[in-house]
Amino acid sequence: MSYVPQNRNSYLDAAHGLASWLLTKDHKRIAMLYLISITIFFALGGLFAAAIRLELITPRGDLWGPDLYNKLFTLHGVVMIFFFLVPSIPATLGNFLMPIMLGTKDLAFPRINLLSWYLYVIGALITLGAIVAGGVDTGWTFYTPYSSVSSRTAVSTAAIGIFVTGFSSILTGLNFIVTTHRMRAPGLTWFRLPLFVWANYATSLVMILGTPVIAITVLLVFAERAFGLGFFDPARGGDPVLFQHLFWFYSHPAVYIMILPGMGVISELVAGMARKPVFGYSFVAFSSLAIAVLGFLVWGHHMFVSSQSLYAGLVFSIITMLVAIPSAVKTFNWTATLYKGSISWQSPTYWVIGFMGLFAIGGLTGLFLGTAGLNVHLTDSYFVVAHFHYIMVGGAIMAYMGGLHYWWPKMTGRIFNDSLSKASAILVFVGFNLTFFPQFLLGYMGMPRRYHSYPDEWQALNVLSSAGASILALGYALPAFYLTYSLFKGKLAPANPWGVKGLEWTIPSPPPTFNFEDDRQVVVDEPAYNYKPAREVHVG
């Protein structure tokens, strides 16, 4: 990375050359390695999305053949979920900020942290290998027996890629949990932790408890394909619905792996941009844990029409309703945090407000799907597609973008163009709604997911959706330019450009290799977000 040195001690200038990056044990450099890798995959997943939306402009399915279309939506899902969303906030912002917020030099296991990036890269390369080998056409959900018996595409290769990448996620989770327990600075009690730490801690629990299950599941699919063992294929004594239980036992909690860190980011941004403690700190903190725990008990709401028992369906429905409550609590607490705040109109606020709107819609439409009698009509339709995009793109990516902008000056030591960031947030918000809101309507009318062609009467809404996607793409492409530009030409960032509280803002931008200069022992004597007017506002 070409970079003008401005701070001799900065982690960016501590060493130079490719080897100094590829062999680094510095959590901040590993965060940067992840940032570059996941950005590449975000762009790749975005290209697949663009290809899907191009096809759906016309009802006939005349742009790509059906096999190619099936591979496009499969790869869009696989790339976006396993190689962008799951690692996104924890592996970049989390890696960078967790040790600093905890007042320590690095994560508990720096080498394991580097190993996790290598596992991610190896898994990603294997999956790219599956793309080169002709692609995969099972959908990211790999439902059996289609994936294990019927599909003639590179399912096994993709399964191995996902298997390997899973370990990167487990190792990151392990590192965060141990670091949070063992390496908090003196005085930094659990209830003084920034809520971003709570959120990543809860996420890590889900990562280490859930990810082994998806690893086992894809391995079973691999074994059924490669060796003909009958786990899921009824012709060989297997049960295809068993796969869905195993798959969703990870993949529903995985939704929380994607959104919980985003909620942590939003808590930080709301407090910072309003210069006010987060309203109901302990409720927000515990709601992360509640989501992590309850999130493991709702997988069957993906299976109301799968032939599972009616009574199982009811249990999953009611627990799904319960898991909505902590999300509602968080949303109301963020809103209340703004009350009597000192709200900055700088660009992170735009991303936060965008998140609040989209996440509210995403969360509430989850209630439609958790309601068993309504789910029967909506499952496998575009309503589901719209709902999870509101959570994962409207929620998680909006939070990721907000967090990336908020901490960009800290991570790179450079100030970006705030007006362009506002423009980007607005484009994303408008483009996103235009893309995905029509899909709720299409879903209620009955348009099934993963359809390459559709009845003529649904063209208008699909055209609207594709038009929105082009605005959305613009909104995401813009930051790639002004953020890169800021690396070279941006103004140098002070230690605390937003004038906010938090340990990360007490150290130079970019931070020195061991975070706190001269090996000073950090001592924390106040709660997070302590903006009492009597005290000095600017620290560092």
Partner: protein
């Protein structure tokens, strides 16, 4: 692009109830989205930062507020749950007097068989105003039989039978989709559900088919003989296999002490993999028919077993 609908046609007895539930949840959701959006915008404007060193008020929280916004959403969510559970039960439990039809899904078509044996592909003609129960099976991968105008669907899973019921209210032609991704031509695994007045349906049945149709239970009786089922299931007290007359829906005590209900899936399993559940008092000697008979033949055999009442033991 001549028409631009925003709501699907409503053509079954349950559709109105599903729509009502949908509108209720939509109203609750719209209220909260507007509430949060309005508060966020009002606060962001009203409390915008006036000078660079300003900080917000030192407010940490309020237990009363937390209780309100925990319990109000909880109550609303529980209302949705119970309402949804009620609708779910009524969608999922077919009434006993329903007309039985059989559907087999395979890559990439739907095969439908009517009670009188009439068959059709990727179309399903049904009479309005009758309860209709479909028994569905798959020959290969998981499919999903979805009729949006009726607001019902079910997965069609290989290795088991699923059911779907509806009462069509409005004559017309409606979309039929495969809603579970099933491979290359998934988006072509579509068709039409044609709802007709009962007399038109009868006329259609009478005039539609090429040859004389064989009702499923008759075809099943023939299979029962051809596959030599009758050799052991004679209906006599000392027979090698259990008497099948009247067993459908009854309780069966198994050799291992379990008691199961003889429903569609029990019958299916007992034909395909008989040793999975052996009835008390009988030897585990029946050969498996998995791979030997098709999903359609299986349904015909089940239809035959269902048709047997205690007075009509299999013909000797």
């Amino acid at each position: 692009m001549q028409d631009f609908p925003l709501f699907p046609p409503s053509a079954s007895s349950i559709a109105r109830e599903v729509d009502l539930l949908y509108l209720f949840i939509t109203s609750v959701s719209a209220f909260f989205v507007v509430l949060v959006a309005a508060l966020v915008v009002i606060f962001a404007v009203k409390y915008r930062r006036r000078h660079p060193d300003e900080v917000g008020a030192d407010i940490h929280g309020s237990l009363a507020a937390e209780l309100v916004w925990t319990f109000v959403p909880l109550v609303l969510a529980l209302v949705m749950f119970f309402w949804g559970a009620d609708v779910y039960f009524r969608i999922s439990r077919p009434p006993v007097d329903a007309l039985e039809m059989y559907v087999v899904g395979k890559q990439w078509m739907w095969k439908v068989q009517h009670p009188d044996g009439t068959r059709e592909i990727n179309q399903m003609h049904v009479p309005a105003g009758r309860n209709i129960r479909l028994t569905l099976g798959s020959e290969d991968v998981i499919h999903d039989y979805a009729i949006p105008a009726f607001r019902v669907r079910t997965d069609v899973v290989p290795g088991k039978l699923t059911t779907l019921w509806f009462n069509a209210t409005k004559p017309g032609t409606y979309h039929l989709f495969c809603a579970e991704y099933c491979g290359t031509m998934h988006s072509q695994m579509i068709g039409e559900v044609i709802v007709m007045e009962p007399h038109e349906y009868e006329a259609w049945l009478a005039g539609g088919t090429a040859g004389p149709a064989v009702p499923p239970e008759q075809a099943g009786e023939q299979l029962f003989a051809e596959n030599a089922c009758i050799t052991c299931h004679t209906g006599q007290p000392n027979a090698i296999g259990p008497d099948l007359a009247g067993i459908y829906g009854s309780e069966r005590r198994l050799a291992d002490g379990r008691v199961v209900i003889a429903d569609d899936n029990y019958l299916r399993e007992s034909i395909m993999v008989p040793l999975a559940k052996v009835v008390e008092g009988y030897q585990p000697v029946m050969p498996p028919f998995q791979g030997l008979i098709s999903e359609e033949q299986l349904m015909q055999l089940i239809a035959y077993v269902k048709s047997l009442t205690p007075s009509q033991a299999p013909a000797q």
